[in-house]
Amino acid sequence: MEGVDHKVTDLVKELVLRLQSNSEPTQNTNPPPDFQKSLRYALRILSSRMSPSIAADSAAMAESIKRHLATQGKSSEALTFADLYSKFASKTGPGSINNKWAVLYLLKVISEDRRNLKNNQSDSRVSSGFFTSSTTPGGLPALFDAKSNDVSSNSRVLRSRESVEKGWSNGVLSVSKDPKNIRELAFKKFVDLLKEENEVSEEVLVRDVLYACQGIDGKYVKFDKNVDGYVLNDSIKVPRATRIMVRKLCELGLLFRKVKGYISESMDRFPAEDVGTVGQAFCAALQDELSEYYKLLAVLESQSVNPIPSFSESGSSGNYLSLRRLSVWFAEPMVKMRLMAVLVDKCRVLRGGAMAGAIHLHAQHGDPLVHEFMKRLLRRVCSPLFEMVRSWVLEGELEDIFAEFFILAQPVKVESLWREGYRLHAGMLPSFISQSLAQRILRTGKSINFLRVCCEDRGWADAAMEAAAAAGMTTGRGGLGYGETDALETLVMEAAKRIDKHLLDVMYKQYKFKEHCLAIKRYLLLGQGDFVQYLMDIVGPELSEPANTISSFKLAGLLESAVRSSNAQYDDRDVLDRLRVKMMPHGTGDRGWDVFSLDYDARVPLDTVFTESVMARYLRIFNFLWKLRRVEHALIGAWKAMKPNCIASLSFTKLQGAVKLQLLSTLRRCQVLWDEMNHFVSNLQYYIMFEVLEVSWSDFSNEMDVAKDLDDLLAAHQKYLHSIVEKSLLGERSQPLYKTLFVLFDLILRFRSHADRLCEGIYELQARTVGSSLPSQDKTKLGRHLNEKPSEPGSWVSDGRKALTQRASEFLRNMGQDLDAISKEYSSVLEGFISQLPVQQHIDLKFLLFRLDFTEFYSRLHPVVS
């Protein structure tokens, strides 16, 4: 200690010496006379103040020096100083200065003193020994020096106060020496001001806001219907900012109220069966979210009990809750609650699948928070729907009490189960299930029901289990949720594939669909030629009677005999059983030909394909084909009559020349006409049988092989029938042609009767002629024959040869005229028919035209005027 003191004294001596020699440069090197005095003085100063009055913070000191320099306008020097200081401060270890702060402070004070001295040479009184109060000479020397001129205690006070304030502005902390406690005063004033402005304290407001956010009116914050929100009563005096903040926070309360209202409403309505399972699921999901919200509110309420610290206190007293803190806490719940309120508004009027679809649309959001939230919600909401889909697709069960599913069932007869039993309700189809997927779902469930009801088949359960196993889930409940539309799709596709295949198997194998189609073609579409021939032969004479005299029993018997005498007897018994005669409803004047038809009885389940309307179409085609066959049959009959026989040829030789010529020409004309008609009919027949029926059948057969489900099959069959109808001139577009055709048919039938008459007449003539020239034995034979056939009893025999010739010629002339008439009419109608053919839309009719007119005989006869 003494060593130190000694050292100190030495150093002080040294210092004094140097300083004195500095200030008096003209002095000689001897120690000045008052060295000892100065030394004593210095020592006294040093001992009077042992501890500094400011905190030892070298960085702060450096800062203040820098600022000092900057305010004096010496910014470059400030930078230099900063640089130096940083280097200075980094010097540590032996040899460095430990008390850096002291050095800095020293330099600072010295420089200031010098400045003061320079500026204030005359004002030496200022720097007289009043050091005690000049603690921190502050930053504005000019101001300071200009002001204070007297040395009274006032200046000291002023200086001290100013120094206190300036000390603040320099950033240097003064812990003591603040007698007036200005800061505290300021804060107290502020708190008083706050108390004046706010009638209600913030804690109370916070608690009220918390109540509002649960939908309960607080003491000051109440629900206002006009504004539709929770507001602070206007009579309460709070600053406007607080009012606005309260209003913003209470938006949460409003939204909460809306959501809660919806939930309780739905719960009340449930017994009235207005809210479906999907709506219930939605309410349950909302309630879950609300319980999370309640938890948050509980935590906040516990925190709101802590008092809000006022400004004068330092530090925080626990987790308090102010309005501002509340707004931070409410940020996330506000987003969620807003979402829920929007959904509630949207779904107030929706139900079932439509509700799920609307919510799904809202879930298409980019914000991950919103997306997660909506996904959770949708998972709950869609689970009843997915369950319904699963049970429909795997079991064909439709448990839909509240009509929320997009498949509707209608009670229909068994035969229309497939077509009309179930349909899609587009309104209830949620938007995340595509239209094609919905169609597949519908078809799968429909197939299961069809199999169960119409086919009485149990094998579909195995198919369903296989499908479920393939898709990776059991046939029990659960397992499917929203967001797994892929899984749903796989399940549906697997099920659809298997069940469709099973259905087609059942149709083909168990119910022999193909065989029945073929049977219909052979019988109803007159494919079995020999059977048709026999039928026509047998039934023909019956049918010429008026319709109301024909008994269907008799016809049925005739049908049976026709079947037995043709190859049709080898057909399957089941098929033959279904074939029946049907008499259509007839009016008076109808002949049997008009009302006769065959019918095929297709029972369940085949009558989904062969419905009433389909069978009616078949009937129409049958009628047409039957008429065509009849005409053909008639012509063949005429041919049989007209074929040259010895009776006719003999007449040529016996008759006179004129009559012979007439006879020949008439016969010739008849034959020509027959030929024309036969050409027409046989070509038409060929066209219908081969180009229409067979081609359509082969197409249909191919499509049947590749059909994947019953819908495909139905469509193929529809197409098949349609093409037949169109091509055989039965469609609406071919109506005029159809009429022409029937006119032609009528003409042909008339011709037949004429031809028959002609041949009969010739035969008669022949008989007469032969009778007059043949030897007696023949004559007697013929005579007996003639006597048994009194066509025209007396006149022929009694007249002579001349009369006979006259009669013959008259007869032949009449016949000739008739034939001419028919011929003319026929050609004109045929020409009309052929001219109309090219105009037809259907391309296959061009083949008919080609066949009928391949030599362009008709078109050249009557060239078309373009």
Binding site: V4, K7, V8, L11, V12, L15, V16, R18, L19, Q20, N22, S23, E24, P32, D34, K37, S38, Y41, A42, I45, L46, S48, R49, M50, S51, P52, S53, L69, E77, T80, F81, L84, K87, F88, K91, G93, P94, G95, S96, I97, N98, N99, A102, V103, L104, Y105, L106, L107, K108, V109, I110, S111, D113, R114, R115, L117, S124, S127, G129, F131
Partner: protein, 73 residues
């Protein structure tokens, strides 16, 4: 003193001298080194600054000061 310490001391002194020049303290290197030594020993820098200020004044004004001060306890 090892050369390292001596070098550090010299550099520190240089820096302090630069700083005092920047601040226009009017101290030469030797005086500054004495002052730094005194500070390091724990003397009050305010007091040292006062000493410097007093002893730098004109000798003409210092004598009456000394007269007045000597009467102050």
């Amino acid at each position: 003193m090892d050369p390292e310490a001596a070098r550090t001391a010299r550099e520190s002194l240089d820096l302090a001298f630069h700083m005092s020049n920047v601040l226009d303290a009017g101290l030469d290197r030797h005086t500054l080194s004495v002052l730094i030594a005194l500070c390091d020993l724990g003397l009050n820098p305010e007091a040292l600054a006062a000493v410097v200020k007093e002893l730098r004044r004109e000798p003409s004004s210092s004598s009456p000061k000394l007269e007045t001060l000597s009467s102050v306890p």
